[in-house]
C-alpha cells in the first residue's frame, strides 16, 4: 500500500512548470519547465526591416525634355540695351508726358495739335512699356518668391496700369487719323494703333491696323515693324506658318533693321515645322550676320545682331542633333562657330544629348572631351555624367563599367587625383560625389535586391558594397553603409558577415548615430542565427547535469547580447535578448549565469511575456536541482516584485511554488529514507496551501507516509480527511476510493475490527463493481462473524456468494450454516444452510462430511429419530464414498449403535417368570453380541475418541448385562440349597459379564489416556468403573475447571 505515491507532478507552470498531475502513484511522467521549453526559441525580436535611404535625385536619369517645345527668348530682350535703367527712363518719360500733355491742352485747337498728339501718344506707348516691364518684373519676382515658399499666394499679373496708357495712346492716334487723315505720319499712327490694340488685347483691331498699314503704306518704315509684330503675334500663338510668312517678308531685305531677327525667328518657325536643316542654315546666317556686325561699326543694330548670333550659337546645339550625327559635331562646329568656341559647344551639345536621353551621343562627346584633356578638372565631371546617364536606366553592365571606371580614374589613388591634388576643393567635392554616387547606386541596387530577393541582384549589391568599402575609407556615411551591408548579408543568410558589419558600426562608437543601436541589436540577431539548433543543443548537452561550455558562435552571441543589454538597458528589445541569453545559459546548465539574467528580466520587465518564461526557467532551474526549498524562496522573491502583483504570472508562480512544496514533500517521500519527514512535508504543504487543488493528494500522501513511518493513527486521520473532502474530479474520487480501502485495512491493522468490517462493507457498497469489493464483503462477513454480528455477517457472505463467480463461492453456505449451528438456537437454519451447501455441489470433501454429520447431529438434537438415522447413515455412506471424514463416520456409526442397538439391548428386561427368563436372557445375550459386533465396526474406523466411546459403551453394556442377570427376580419357589445353587448359577452367568465390563471400561480409560482422547466417554468409563469397584471417593472429588490464559506479560 505504501510505496506507491499518488501524484505526479512537475513544476511547470503550465507552463508549465512544472507539475502536471499524472498517473496515480509513483509512475511519474515528469515534465519540467525544461521539457516544456525544450525547444530553442529564437529571440522574439523581429529584426526590423530597415528602409534604405532615398538615393539622390541626380542619380536619376533626366527625363527626356521635349525640346521641340523650347522657344527662343522673348524678342523684347533684344529691344533694350543691357544696363538701361527703367526707373530713370520712366521718370523722364513721365516728365515728358506731363510737359506734352500740358502742350496738348494748351494747343488743343491748334492745327499742329496732331503732331503733339502723336508725340504724346508715343510717350504713352513708352510709358505703357515701362509699366508693363516693371509689373512683369515685379510679377516674376513675386512668382519666384511664391515658388520658393517665401510668398503664400500665387501672384497675378495685372497689366491694367500699363493698358491705361495704351488706351490713351490709342485715343490720341485715333484722333490723329480722324483729324489728319492725310498726314505723313498716318503710317506711324496705324503702326502704333496696331501695337496698342495688341497690347490691350484687342487683337483683331490691332491686326487690322497692321494690315491697313502694310497695304496702304508698303514702303513705310513701319511695314517691317508691322510684319514683325504680326509675326510675333502668330509666333506667340504657335502659328508657325503665318508667323514665318511675316518673318520671311522682313528677311527678304538684308538691310532691314529686323533682318537678323526675322531670320532667327523664321529659323525657329522652320524648326517647329520640321524643316530643321533649313532652320540650321538660317541660324548659321544669323551667326554670320553677328560676326559681320562684330567686325563692323558700333550701334544698336550691331549689338542686337551680336546678341542674336550668340543666341543662335546656343540654339545650334538644339538644332544640330536633328540634322547631323554626333561624330560630325566637332567638324561642323569648328566650321560654324570656330575651333575656339567649338569645345564649349561640344560640351553643351553633350549635355544636350544627355537631356535628349541620347546616351550614346552624349557618352561619345563626353569621352571625346575626356580624351582631349584627361586630367582636366572637367574630365571627372564628364565621366560622372556618363555614370549618371546609365545610373538608373539603360544597360546596367555599361553603367557599372562606367561607374567603376569613374571611381578607378578619379577616385582615391587615381592619376587624375594626383594631378589635381592641389585643388583641394575639387578633391573634396569629387570624393564626396564619388562616395555619394557609389553609395546611392549601391543603395538603389540594394533596394532592388530587397524588393526582388533575387540572388543575382543581391550578389551585385554585395559587389557594390565591397567596391564601396575598398574605395571609400573615410566618409560620414560609413556607418550607414556598414549597417546596410550587414542587412544585405543578413538577408543573404551570411550572418557572420552581417554581424561583422554591424560590429563595425558599433566599433566606431557613434552612439548618437542613426545606426548604432540597431547595429548592436542586429549584431545580436545575426550572431544568434549561428547558435546551435535545439537538436544540436541536445547533442551538446546530452544528459550532462554539469555546466556545458558555450560553442564559439554562442560566445559571440553572448558577447553581443551582453553589449546590447549594457548599452541599452531600457531598450525596446532588451528583455527578449536577456531572455534568449538567459535561456541559453539555462539549456547549457550554466545556472549560475542564467539566474541573474532571468531574474533581471522578471524584475525589470514584469509585464513582458519573457518575464513569464524567465520565471518559469528560474523555477525550473531550482526544480532541476531538486532544490525545492530554494525554489519556494525564489518564488517568494518573484512574488514580491511589485509589477507582478495580481498578474497571471504571479498566479502561476504561486501555483508552481505550491507544487514545489508538494514536490518537496514528494521528494522526501521518494527518498524513502524518512517517510515521517515526507509525511510532515505533506502536512506542512497542507497547512501552507489550504486551498490548493493538491490538498487531497497531499493528504493522501501524508497518510501513506505516516503509514510507512508507522504513525498509523496519523495515517488514519489523513485518510479520513481525504474521505470527507469535497470531491473535485476523477483523481479525487480515486484517492477517496483508495483511502476508503486503506482505511479498512488500517482499522483492521490497528485492531479496530468493527470499524474495519464497516469500512470493508462501505467500500463494497460504494464501489460495487470494483474487483476487490466482493473480497471486502467476505472480509466484512468474517469480522462480523467473529464479532457475533450474525445478520451483518450473513448479509456480506450473501453478497459475496451472489457476486462471486468463483467455483468456491458456495462455500459460504457452509460458513453461514456453521454460524447458525454455533448459535444453537436456530438448528433448522443451520440444517437449511448445511443442506444448501451440500446441494451446491461443493467439491470440498471434508466440509461435505462435516455438513452431513452436523445435519445428522442437529436432527438428533431435535429428536428427529428417523431423520437423524438417515443422516447418520449418509455420513457413513459418504465417508465410504469420499474417503475422508473418518471421525464423522465413526461417530455416526457409534451414535447409531448407541441409539438403536444399545437401546434395544437395554430394553430387554429379564422377567420374573422362569419360563420366559431364559428366553429373555438369551435374547439379551444375542443383542449384546450384536452390539459388540457393531462396536467392533465403530472401532474399525480407528478413531481414538470413538474407540474409547465404543469400549466404554461395551463396558456399560456388559455391566448392564451383568446387572440385569443379577437383578433378575429370584423365583419365589427357590429356597435353601436351591436358592444357593441358583445364586451360584447367576454368579456364574453374570460374573463374567461384570469382569468383562471392568476390562472393557479399563481398556476404554487406558486407550483414552494412551490416545489422549479426553472426552465424556472416558469420564463415563471412569465413573462406571468407580461404581463397579465401589471406589466412589475419587469420583466424588471435584475438579475445578480453570483455564489459564496467557497474558503475554501484560
Amino acid at each position: 500500500m505504501v510505496g506507491k505515491m499518488y501524484f505526479k507532478s512537475s513544476l511547470l507552470i503550465s507552463l508549465v512548470l512544472f507539475l502536471s498531475a499524472g498517473d496515480l502513484h509513483a509512475k511519474r511522467k515528469r515534465k519540467t519547465v525544461g521539457d516544456v521549453l525544450k525547444k530553442i526559441e529564437s529571440i522574439k525580436v523581429k529584426k526590423k526591416k530597415n528602409l534604405l535611404p532615398d538615393s539622390k535625385k541626380y542619380l536619376k536619369t533626366k527625363t527626356r525634355v521635349n525640346l521641340r517645345s523650347v522657344k527662343p527668348p522673348s524678342s523684347n530682350r533684344f529691344y533694350y540695351d543691357e544696363g538701361t535703367s527703367e526707373q530713370e527712363l520712366e521718370k523722364i518719360t513721365d516728365e515728358q508726358i506731363k510737359h506734352l500733355y500740358g502742350m496738348t491742352q494748351k494747343f488743343k485747337k491748334s492745327s499742329r495739335r496732331g503732331e503733339l498728339w502723336v508725340r504724346l501718344a508715343e510717350l504713352y506707348v513708352d510709358k505703357a512699356k515701362l509699366i508693363e516691364l516693371r509689373l512683369q518684373t515685379d510679377y516674376d519676382n513675386a512668382l519666384a518668391a511664391h515658388q520658393s515658399g517665401k510668398r503664400k499666394r500665387r501672384p497675378r499679373l495685372n497689366l491694367k496700369p500699363a493698358e491705361q496708357y495704351n488706351k490713351k495712346s490709342i485715343q490720341l492716334y485715333e484722333w490723329f487719323i480722324r483729324d489728319f487723315p492725310k498726314d505723313p505720319k498716318i503710317d506711324q499712327a496705324l503702326f502704333f494703333l496696331g501695337y496698342n490694340y495688341f497690347e490691350i488685347g484687342k487683337v483683331e483691331k490691332g491686326r487690322a491696323k497692321y494690315t491697313q498699314l502694310t497695304k496702304r503704306f508698303p514702303k513705310s518704315p513701319y511695314v517691317d515693324e508691322s510684319n514683325f509684330a504680326l509675326g510675333e503675334y502668330y509666333f506667340e500663338r504657335e502659328k508657325w506658318k503665318p508667323a514665318k510668312k511675316h518673318y520671311d517678308k522682313i528677311a527678304r531685305n538684308r538691310r532691314s533693321r529686323l533682318y537678323s531677327f526675322a531670320l532667327y525667328k523664321g529659323a525657329w518657325c522652320k524648326y517647329k515645322t520640321g524643316k530643321t536643316k533649313s532652320a540650321l542654315k538660317d541660324l548659321e546666317r544669323v551667326i554670320l550676320e553677328g560676326r559681320k556686325a562684330k567686325s563692323g561699326d558700333r550701334g544698336n543694330k550691331k549689338v542686337s545682331r551680336i546678341r542674336l548670333a550668340s543666341e543662335a550659337v546656343k540654339d545650334i546645339v538644339v538644332f544640330y542633333p536633328e540634322v547631323y550625327k554626333v561624330q560630325q559635331a566637332r567638324g561642323y562646329l569648328n566650321r560654324v562657330v570656330g575651333s575656339k568656341s567649338a569645345p564649349k559647344l561640344i560640351e553643351k551639345l553633350a549635355y544636350y544629348y544627355v537631356d535628349r536621353g541620347d546616351k550614346f551621343s552624349a557618352k561619345y562627346l563626353f569621352k571625346e572631351l575626356i580624351q582631349e584633356s584627361p586630367f582636366s578638372t572637367r574630365a571627372y565631371e564628364y565621366q560622372h555624367q556618363i555614370v549618371k546617364m546609365y545610373s538608373a536606366a539603360g544597360n546596367q553592365k555599361v553603367f557599372r563599367k562606367e561607374l567603376f571606371t569613374w571611381i578607378d580614374n578619379y577616385g582615391p589613388g587615381s592619376v587624375w587625383r594626383r594631378e589635381n591634388k592641389k585643388n583641394k576643393e575639387l578633391m573634396a567635392s569629387s570624393d564626396k560625389l564619388i562616395e555619394s554616387t557609389l553609395r546611392n547606386y549601391i543603395l538603389q541596387l540594394h533596394q532592388t535586391a530587397q524588393n526582388s530577393r533575387a540572388k543575382y541582384t543581391q550578389n551585385l549589391t554585395k559587389d557594390g558594397y565591397e567596391m564601396y568599402f575598398s574605395s571609400i575609407k573615410k566618409s560620414e556615411h560609413l556607418d550607414q553603409m556598414n549597417f546596410f551591408y550587414g542587412e544585405l548579408l543578413f538577408d543573404m543568410k551570411d550572418y557572420v558577415g552581417a554581424a561583422k558589419n554591424y560590429n563595425k558600426v558599433v566599433a566606431r562608437g557613434n552612439k548618437a548615430g542613426k545606426y548604432y543601436e540597431q547595429s548592436i541589436l542586429n549584431s545580436v540577431l545575426a550572431s544568434e542565427k549561428k547558435i546551435p539548433t535545439a537538436s544540436e543543443v541536445k547533442t551538446l548537452v546530452a544528459d550532462n547535469k554539469e555546466p556545458v561550455e558555450f560553442t564559439s558562435n554562442l560566445k559571440i552571441f553572448e558577447k553581443a547580447a551582453i553589449k546590447y543589454v549594457k548599452e541599452y538597458p531600457k531598450g525596446e528589445n532588451v528583455s527578449a535578448i536577456k531572455y534568449r541569453l538567459g535561456s541559453l545559459y539555462y539549456y547549457f546548465n550554466q545556472y549560475n549565469k542564467a539566474l541573474p539574467v532571468l531574474t533581471n528580466i522578471v524584475e525589470n520587465h514584469p509585464k513582458e511575456k519573457d518575464a513569464e518564461y524567465s520565471a518559469n526557467l528560474i523555477l525550473d532551474i531550482y526544480n532541476k536541482k531538486k532544490d525545492f526549498e530554494g525554489l519556494e524562496k525564489v518564488a517568494d522573491k518573484l512574488l514580491a516584485i511589485p509589477g507582478l502583483k495580481g498578474s497571471n504570472m504571479a498566479a502561476k508562480i504561486a501555483d508552481v511554488k505550491q507544487k514545489s512544496s508538494f514536490k518537496r514533500a514528494e521528494k522526501a517521500a521518494a527518498s524513502g529514507g524518512n517517510p515521517l519527514k515526507a509525511a510532515l512535508s505533506y502536512v506542512s504543504f497542507i497547512k501552507s496551501n489550504p486551498k490548493s487543488d493538491l490538498l487531497n493528494v497531499s493528504r493522501f500522501n501524508a497518510a501513506l507516509n505516516y503509514e510507512k513511518a508507522g504513525e498509523t493513527s496519523e495515517a488514519l486521520k489523513y485518510y479520513r480527511q481525504v474521505l470527507v473532502a469535497k470531491s473535485s474530479g476523477s483523481k479525487d474520487a480515486e484517492l477517496k476510493k483508495k483511502s476508503r480501502r486503506f482505511l479498512a485495512f488500517l482499522y483492521q491493522k490497528t485492531g479496530q475490527y468493527a470499524k474495519a468490517a464497516a469500512a470493508f462493507e462501505a467500500y463494497s457498497k460504494k464501489y460495487p463493481k470494483d474487483k476487490e469489493s466482493l473480497n471486502y464483503n467476505y472480509n466484512a462477513a468474517v469480522i462480523y462473524d467473529g464479532l457475533n454480528f450474525y445478520t451483518s455477517s450473513v448479509r456480506n457472505y450473501e453478497k459475496y456468494r451472489k457476486g462471486s463467480k468463483k467455483a468456491d463461492r458456495n462455500e459460504v453456505y457452509f460458513t453461514i450454516a456453521k454460524m447458525w449451528d454455533r448459535r444453537k438456537k436456530y438448528p433448522s437454519k443451520a440444517i437449511f444452510f448445511y443442506n444448501k451447501y451440500l446441494n451446491s455441489g461443493s467439491a470440498n470433501k471434508q466440509k461435505t462430511m462435516e455438513a452431513t454429520y452436523r445435519i445428522a447431529k442437529l436432527h438428533d438434537s431435535l429428536n428427529r429419530k428417523t431423520l437423524s438415522k438417515t443422516w447418520y447413515n449418509k455420513v457413513i455412506a459418504r465417508q465410504r464414498k469420499l474417503g475422508v471424514g473418518v471421525s464423522f463416520a465413526a461417530e455416526a456409526k457409534f451414535k447409531l449403535v448407541e441409539r438403536d442397538d444399545f437401546k434395544k439391548f437395554r430394553s430387554v428386561r429379564i422377567p420374573a417368570s422362569q419360563a420366559r427368563m431364559a428366553g429373555a436372557v438369551q435374547k439379551k445375550l444375542g443383542l449384546l453380541d450384536r452390539l459388540k459386533e457393531k462396536l467392533k465396526q465403530v472401532v474399525a474406523y480407528n478413531d481414538a475418541y470413538q474407540i474409547v466411546a465404543a469400549l466404554t459403551l461395551q463396558g456399560e453394556s456388559l455391566l448392564h448385562m451383568s446387572n440385569a442377570i443379577y437383578g433378575a427376580p429370584v423365583p419365589k419357589t427357590l429356597k435353601g440349597e436351591q436358592l444357593v445353587q441358583y445364586k451360584k448359577g447367576i454368579d456364574n452367568l453374570a460374573g463374567p459379564f461384570k469382569k468383562q465390563a471392568i476390562e472393557s471400561l479399563k481398556a476404554a480409560i487406558n486407550k483414552a489416556y494412551e490416545l489422549q482422547a479426553y472426552d465424556d466417554s472416558v469420564k463415563k468409563a471412569a465413573s462406571l468403573l468407580d461404581k463397579v469397584e465401589g471406589n466412589t471417593l475419587t469420583g466424588d472429588l471435584q475438579v475445578m475447571q480453570s483455564f489459564w490464559l496467557s497474558k503475554a506479560g501484560l
Binding site: 517517510p675 493513527s713 485495512f745 490497528t750 485492531g751 473480497n775 479426553y1014 469420564k1019 471435584q1038 490464559l1045
Partner: protein, 252 residues
C-alpha cells in the same frame, strides 16, 4: 477467513513499517486500565494506539484477543490470535489462548490438539497447566502431576492472595495426588491451602472429604466441615457437607 488472511498478507508485505518503533510503556498501562473497564471501546482504543505504532505488538493483540474471548466473541478472538501467532510463531502461549478459544467454541478436540502443541515439552507453562486440568478432569492423574507439581510450587505463595487460578491449581493438584494414590501428599497440599486461608468451597469440600475418609484426626475434618458450612450458601454444597458430616459422625 481465507480472503481476509490473503489480504492481510498483502498488507503486511507492503506496509510493514520500515522503521520499527518501540511502543511507549504508558500505552501498555493504558491498555491494562482499559481491559479492567471491560468496555470494548476502551480496550480497542487502547490496543489500536499500540498497534498504530507496531501492528504486530504481541501484548496488544493478545489483550484484544483475550478481551473478545472473555466477551464471548470467540470468532474475532481466533482471528486476532491467528494474526498474533503469524507474527510471533515462537510465542507458544498464544496457542494456549487459541486452544482456550477452541474449547470455548465447543471444539474440544481442536482445543486439545492446540493446547498440546502449545505446551510442547514444557511442564511449566499456562498450556501445560491447562492440559493438566484436562488430565485431572479425565482422571489421567499421572500425566497431570508433573506440570501441576511444578506450577503448585510456583503459585502456592500466592494462595494467600486468594488467586483463583492458584486455588484451582492447588485443588486439582490435590485431587491428582489423591487419584494417583498419593494420599499423604494430597492431604498436605489441601492442608497447605487450608492453612493459607483459602476459602474456596470446592477445595475445602475435597479437603473435608479426604480428611473424613482418609484422615487420622476427625477433628481436623470437623474443622474443615464447619468452616465450609460457614463459608457457603450453596444449598447443594451444604447438603453434600451434611452428608459428609454424617459419614464422619458414623466413622469410628
Amino acid at each position: 477467513m481465507r480472503k481476509l488472511v490473503l489480504t492481510l498478507v498483502f498488507i503486511l508485505s507492503v506496509s510493514h513499517p520500515l522503521l520499527a518503533k518501540s511502543v511507549d510503556k504508558s500505552l501498555y498501562k493504558g491498555l491494562s486500565k482499559a481491559l479492567a473497564t471491560k468496555v470494548e471501546a476502551n480496550v480497542v482504543g487502547a490496543a489500536s494506539k499500540i498497534l498504530s505504532v507496531d501492528e504486530d505488538d504481541l501484548k496488544a493483540l493478545n489483550a484484544l484477543a483475550i478481551f473478545y474471548y472473555e466477551s464471548g466473541k470467540h470468532g474475532l478472538a481466533k482471528i486476532i490470535l491467528d494474526r498474533a501467532i503469524k507474527a510471533h510463531p515462537e510465542f507458544t502461549d498464544l496457542k494456549n489462548n487459541l486452544a482456550l478459544v477452541y474449547f470455548a467454541s465447543g471444539d474440544k478436540k481442536l482445543g486439545l490438539l492446540t493446547l498440546k502443541d502449545a505446551a510442547g515439552d514444557s511442564s511449566l507453562s499456562e498450556a501445560a497447566l491447562n492440559l493438566s486440568s484436562i488430565y485431572v478432569e479425565h482422571r489421567d492423574y499421572q500425566k497431570a502431576l508433573g506440570p501441576l507439581s511444578k506450577s503448585f510450587s510456583k503459585v502456592k505463595g500466592s494462595l494467600k492472595s486468594k488467586s483463583k487460578p492458584a486455588i484451582a491449581l492447588t485443588n486439582n493438584y490435590g485431587v491428582a495426588l489423591f487419584g494417583a494414590e498419593k494420599i499423604k501428599e494430597s492431604l498436605e497440599v489441601f492442608t497447605y491451602a487450608h492453612e493459607a486461608g483459602v476459602k474456596d468451597s470446592t477445595l475445602l469440600y475435597n479437603y473435608a472429604m479426604l480428611l473424613t475418609h482418609k484422615g487420622k484426626n476427625k477433628e481436623d475434618a470437623y474443622k474443615v466441615i464447619n468452616r465450609l458450612k460457614f463459608l457457603t450458601d450453596d444449598q447443594k454444597m451444604l447438603r453434600k457437607v451434611e452428608l459428609l458430616e454424617k459419614t464422619l459422625d458414623n466413622k469410628k
